[in-house]
Structure formats: structure tokens, C-alpha cells
């Protein structure tokens, strides 16, 4: 073969080889990448749907066992029972969203009457928008959204015949009545309520109904709760650990991030000039903030999706997240939403000592403007279970009554009456009564005024967020009177802290 022919043959082989190899590199890989990206997106979509399903649900559920105005008792469901009840309640709600029930308003008194019969009552987080349920049931146009933007609670009577009751905007109460043909799902609410074994639950009563207050309190709390050693998920003592956490927010830009170590122990990671920032303090509180420019949110449901996806992508999934607050943020022309999430420990909600929720996300448009998280988990240390058990909250209120009354009166700018002190001599009381100035009309606050001002009483684990990664969480009775939350150690009855709630914090 001549040299020229050989050269031509080699050239042809080289060209063919390079074409084949180029095809392999450029045409097959992108296809694989696209398909993997597509499946990645499907996974994300599935994950988002699952998280949305988990998050869009009542914060609390109360079951009323009936008994009339004088003898009715109630219980708050544990998270595991709440899940079971919610699956059934969703079927009833779905019918109401899909069909067009007849709506009428009823009075608060009629609603309170309904609560004295057997029922299931769902309490949603503060500011919970009706739009969330519309999205959950995929019904943008529905009777509920047409009358109320927010849902506080929904009551389903045990004798459910297509009728449910909703407390919405401005405490207005509505009755929704479905026609029999529109009740597609048959739910036996009586059977659901009867499924709770007798004496397996803590009984709550409206103990202060004589002061015009229907707030529920337990007479005794038989289920003891332990004092638990917990630690925050983020270990702020290790720089490597913090870098890994921070890295999840900056991804490939992490190499260009400036790190500042404050003397107080907080580590700050900054990208650009305030474009993105992550702060981790020595307690393990992580705060992310980013500039969102002129972005504005048009839909609260989309904002929730953005928030949930951000958390899943950058922090990781959390089972058992509970939606506690939804707040509309308006800054000039821009609209955004703040979502507050909480979690449970031993079936009790964990409440931070500061006013914020354990997880808070602010969304403007398609971006997250701020994200803060401090989640604790139990350590592998023994729990402490005091033998005396959980004190009754009405006893705690009684022990501290004089002090509470004085503080309540101070806030009202009025005088507290001289309440009889335990064990004081009769003669002393008489003398004091003589020396007291004659109060003017309406300037005295009575004990019943104080009892009437109790908003709610709840057993929680208080996260004191002290300057440690590790903390002993204790069960606490949070008693909210008017605008103030009083936290009492549930085992010892001592007052741990007093917090003035802003309007947003009060239910």
C-alpha cells in the first residue's frame, strides 16, 4: 500500500474515533444529567408535597366528651392521636371544600353551647390562612375561602350531619351545612371519639367558668413528664462542624465567603456585601439572611412552598414540624410572609424563652430573606422524673394569686384589693381594712377580673436558650394572663420567667 493511502486510512480512523468519542462525551452525558435532574426534581416535588401535607394541619386538637354546661370535660390530643384524627377530619373538610355548603353566621354563645356536647375541635396556628386548605384540597374557589381569610378553629360535632363550625376572621363564627348528597365521605365521628380509651387521657375542665372564662385547665395531670438533657443540633464548639453547616447555604460560593469570629462566640459567614450572611452563635442558633431586592409575594401558598423547600435543601428535613404562626409582612409596596414552626418533645410543644419560634422563615417573592433555627434533641443521658409529678396549674395560680393580682392591677393602672393571705391573723386583717383608703368606683381590680383575663394554660417544654449548647429542658406551665406569659416550673411551682407578649404572640 502506498504511503498516501496509509495516511488517508489513519486520518479516517482518527476522525471516526474522535467523532465517536465526542458523541459519547457530549451527547450521552447531558441526557443522563437531564434525566437525573428530572428525577431529582420529581423527588423534590414529592418531598415538597409530603412536607406540605405534614405541615398544613391543625396545631392542636381538642376532643370534647360532653356532659352539658356543668359537667363537660375535654382533652388535648397527643401528636400521634392528632395525626389519626386529622386523616379523618380531612375527609370531612374535603367535602366542604369541594361542594358548596350553605353558610350562616352564629353567635359565640351558640358556639360555646356546641362545645358542651361531644365534638372534635381543631385549633390552627396563629394567622393560618384558609388558602392553605384550599391548596391542600386543590379547590381555589370554595365557600370557606369566600367568607374568611384565616381559620382559628373548626368544630365537628359527634352528631355530624354535614354541619361544621368555623371561627375565622375577627372571631366571627360560621356554620357550614352540606346537603346529604354532597357528603361523599362517611366519617363516624362518634367512633373516633370513642376510640380514645377511658382514663388514658388528661381531663381538662373550664374551672374558671364562674368568672366567665372558658379556658381549659386540668384538675390533675396524671402523666408525669421528665426533665430532659438536650443539646442543639448545631455544635458551635467545632469550627469544622460550623463550616459544614454554613457551607450548605453558600454551596460553590463558600470559597469566597469571609468568616468573622466575634468575641461573644458568634461566628459570622458573609458573602458579598451583605448579599448573604450566616450567623451561628454559641448556643447553636443559626441565622441566615439574604437580600431579596424588590421581590414581593403574591401567594401565601407559594411562599410556604418556597420556605419548605429552602429548609429541606439547606438545613435538612425535619419530621414533626408544626406550623404555629403565619404573618403577613408589608414593607412599603413589598409583601412577604413569616412562617413560624415548632416541634414536640415527649408530646409537649417546645417553646423558646424568647418570643420567636424554633424555626422562623421570612419569604419575599421566590426567595428567603431570613431563616433562623434552633432545634434541640435529647442527649443520651438519663432523664430526671421527680416523684411528686406535675402540679395542677390552678394550685400554682392560687399560690401566686396575690402577686399575680398586683401585677395585673399595675398593668391596668388600678389598685389590687387586699386579698386574704393564707394563715394571717384575723385582727391584722381588720386593722388593715380600717386603714385602707376608700377606693373610688371602678378603680379596684378583683380576683375574678384576673381569672377572667386568663387566655390559655398550656404544659410545654421551655427552651431557655441560655448561653450553652446543652440545656436541661423542664416541663413548664405557661399561663397567659392578658398580655403576659407566666412560666412556672411544673414540678416545683416556682416562677421561672415572665414575658410580655406582643399582640402577635397572644391567641
Amino acid at each position: 500500500m502506498s504511503k498516501e493511502k496509509l495516511k488517508s486510512l489513519l486520518l479516517v480512523i482518527l476522525i471516526a474515533t474522535s467523532v465517536v468519542l465526542t458523541q459519547r462525551v457530549w451527547f450521552s452525558s447531558p441526557l443522563q444529567m437531564t434525566s437525573s435532574e428530572a428525577s431529582y426534581l420529581y423527588e423534590k416535588e414529592d418531598q415538597l408535597l409530603a412536607t406540605r401535607e405534614q405541615v398544613i394541619r391543625p396545631e392542636k386538637m381538642v376532643v370534647g366528651f360532653g356532659g352539658g354546661a356543668e359537667n363537660s370535660h375535654y382533652t388535648f390530643l397527643a401528636p400521634s392521636d392528632l395525626d389519626r384524627f386529622w386523616q379523618e377530619m380531612k375527609m370531612i373538610l374535603r367535602d366542604h371544600f369541594v361542594s358548596m355548603p350553605v353558610v350562616q353566621t352564629i353567635t359565640r354563645e351558640e358556639y360555646e353551647d356546641l362545645r358542651t356536647n361531644r365534638h372534635v375541635e381543631m385549633h390552627f396556628g396563629k394567622g393560618f390562612p384558609t388558602a392553605f386548605l384550599s391548596v391542600l384540597f386543590d379547590q381555589q374557589e370554595n365557600s370557606l375561602a369566600s367568607v374568611t381569610n384565616e381559620i382559628q378553629s373548626i368544630l365537628v360535632p359527634v352528631r355530624y350531619q354535614g354541619n361544621l363550625y368555623l371561627v375565622g376572621d375577627e372571631d366571627q363564627v360560621y356554620e357550614f351545612q352540606l346537603q346529604p348528597q354532597d357528603q361523599l365521605h362517611q366519617v363516624d365521628v362518634a367512633e373516633l371519639v370513642d376510640s380514645i380509651p377511658v382514663n388514658s387521657y388528661v381531663k381538662y375542665y373550664p374551672l374558671f367558668s364562674y368568672a366567665g372564662n372558658q379556658t381549659l385547665l386540668p384538675l390533675t395531670y396524671q402523666n408525669n413528664k421528665p426533665r430532659i438533657f438536650t443539646e442543639s443540633e448545631i455544635d458551635a464548639s467545632s469550627n469544622d462542624h460550623m463550616n459544614r453547616w454554613a457551607g450548605r447555604f453558600f454551596n460553590e460560593n463558600f470559597d469566597f465567603v469571609k468568616t468573622i469570629q466575634e468575641t461573644g462566640g458568634t461566628r459570622i459567614y458573609m458573602y458579598g456585601y451583605g448579599q448573604q450572611e450566616v450567623r451561628i452563635n454559641n448556643r447553636g442558633l443559626l441565622e441566615y439572611s439574604a437580600a431579596t431586592g424588590n421581590q414581593s409575594s403574591s401567594s401565601v401558598s407559594r411562599a410556604l412552598d418556597t420556605a419548605l423547600m429552602f429548609k429541606a435543601d439547606h438545613y435538612g428535613p425535619s419530621d414533626g414540624l408544626v406550623l404555629r404562626e403565619v404573618e403577613l409582612l408589608e414593607e412599603g409596596q413589598l409583601r412577604g410572609y413569616r412562617f413560624g414552626f415548632g416541634y414536640h418533645l415527649r408530646d409537649l410543644p417546645v417553646v423558646p424563652a424568647q418570643l420567636s419560634q424554633p424555626v422562623e422563615i421570612e419569604v419575599f417573592g421566590e426567595s428567603v430573606r431570613s431563616f433562623s433555627v434552633l432545634l434541640r434533641r435529647p442527649m443520651s443521658l438519663p432523664e430526671v422524673m421527680p416523684e411528686a409529678g406535675i402540679l395542677s396549674p390552678h394550685r400554682i395560680i392560687e399560690e401566686d394569686f396575690n402577686q399575680l393580682l398586683e401585677e395585673f392591677a399595675d398593668r391596668q393602672g388600678l389598685e389590687a384589693p387586699e386579698m386574704p393571705l393564707q394563715g394571717e391573723e384575723e385582727a391584722d386583717i381588720e386593722n388593715n381594712a380600717d386603714n385602707q383608703p376608700d377606693p373610688g368606683e371602678g378603680s379596684l381590680v378583683t380576683g375574678e377580673d384576673l381569672l377572667g383575663a386568663i387566655r390559655y394554660v398550656e404544659l410545654v417544654y421551655l427552651d431557655r436558650q441560655e448561653t450553652h449548647r446543652r440545656e436541661l429542658m423542664v416541663p413548664v406551665w405557661r399561663i397567659v394572663i392578658d398580655q403576659v406569659a407566666y412560666d412556672f416550673d411544673a414540678h416545683e411551682g416556682t416562677r421561672m420567667q415572665t414575658t410580655i407578649l406582643t399582640e402577635e404572640g397572644v391567641r
Binding site: G67, E70, N71, H73, K203, Y205, L207, Y210, L219, H394, R395, I397, E398, E399, F401, N402, M419, P420, L421, Q422, G423, E425, E426, A427, G447, L451
Partner: protein, 172 residues
Amino acid sequence: MKKWIIAGALILLMTSGQTATAEATNTNVDDNTISEAIAEEPMLEVLVPQKDRVTSRETMMVSFRAPTDSLVVVEVFHTMGMADNETPVALYEPMAFEIGVLERGWVELTLQKGINRIVLTTTLAQKNVEPKVEVTERIITVKDLEEVREELSRNVMQTTATDLIRRLTNME
């Protein structure tokens, strides 16, 4: 002139007679009367149940009001109500409640079918005198739901209209 004198005298007589009548009625209540009236008021007020009751429910929340620093002991005795010489059975160990500044006490009781006698004994220590003791009772009869319904309808049929109105307007 005479007429004027007689008329004047009559008017004076009438006026003085009324004054005498007014004076005769002693509207001043002295302290002794007040304290006696107070002493007659019971120490303990059972808020729920306000009176004896027939019910189908076995659990009952009893609430009461008593003075601060008093001690209220609650006992429950049960009989089936069949025989007259039946010995009452105590359903609980005596439960003691120290009453605080709220002046309230609450107890949840699980009763049994038949006659349940709830006895509340209130003791208030007093300076330099014997403690004041008071006993209050409530009889709660627990029956099956059907029996309760029958009894109610029987009561309604046996009651005359006048009695019904009287019972309703008495507001006991």
C-alpha cells in the same frame, strides 16, 4: 275661728300620730342582728351539683365554694337503694381540700349505679373559739339512661300545669 282651731288640732294630732308610728318602727339594725344574720349563712356552697340529682352519668365534677383557710373533706357513700338496712359503702378514702384564696375546690368523682351520698364536711379554725364545722350533703342517683328518661316523662305527666309553672318560676 273655732273651726280653724279644731282643724289645726286635728292636723297636729294626725301628724304626731304618724310620727309616733314612724318612731315605733325601729329601722336601726344593730350589730348583733347583723352578725346573727351572717352566722346563719352556710360556710360551704356547693356550686355543682346545686341540688340532689338523678343522672345517667357515672362521672361527676363537684365544685364548691368555701372560706379561705377552711378544710373541706369529701366522702362518698354508696347504696343500691334496694333494702332499707343496706350498709353504705365508702367509694373513696376521705379526700381533704385546703381552700386557698380562690375560695374554690373541685373534685372529680366516679360514682356507681344506685344512690351516692356525697358528704362535704367543712371545718374553719377560729381564733379563741372552737372550730366551726358544717356538713353538707348531695344525693346523686345514677340510673340507666332509659330509666332516667322514663322517670322524667313520668314526672312531667304527673305534674299539674300549675305545679310546673310554680316549679319553673321558683328557679331553684
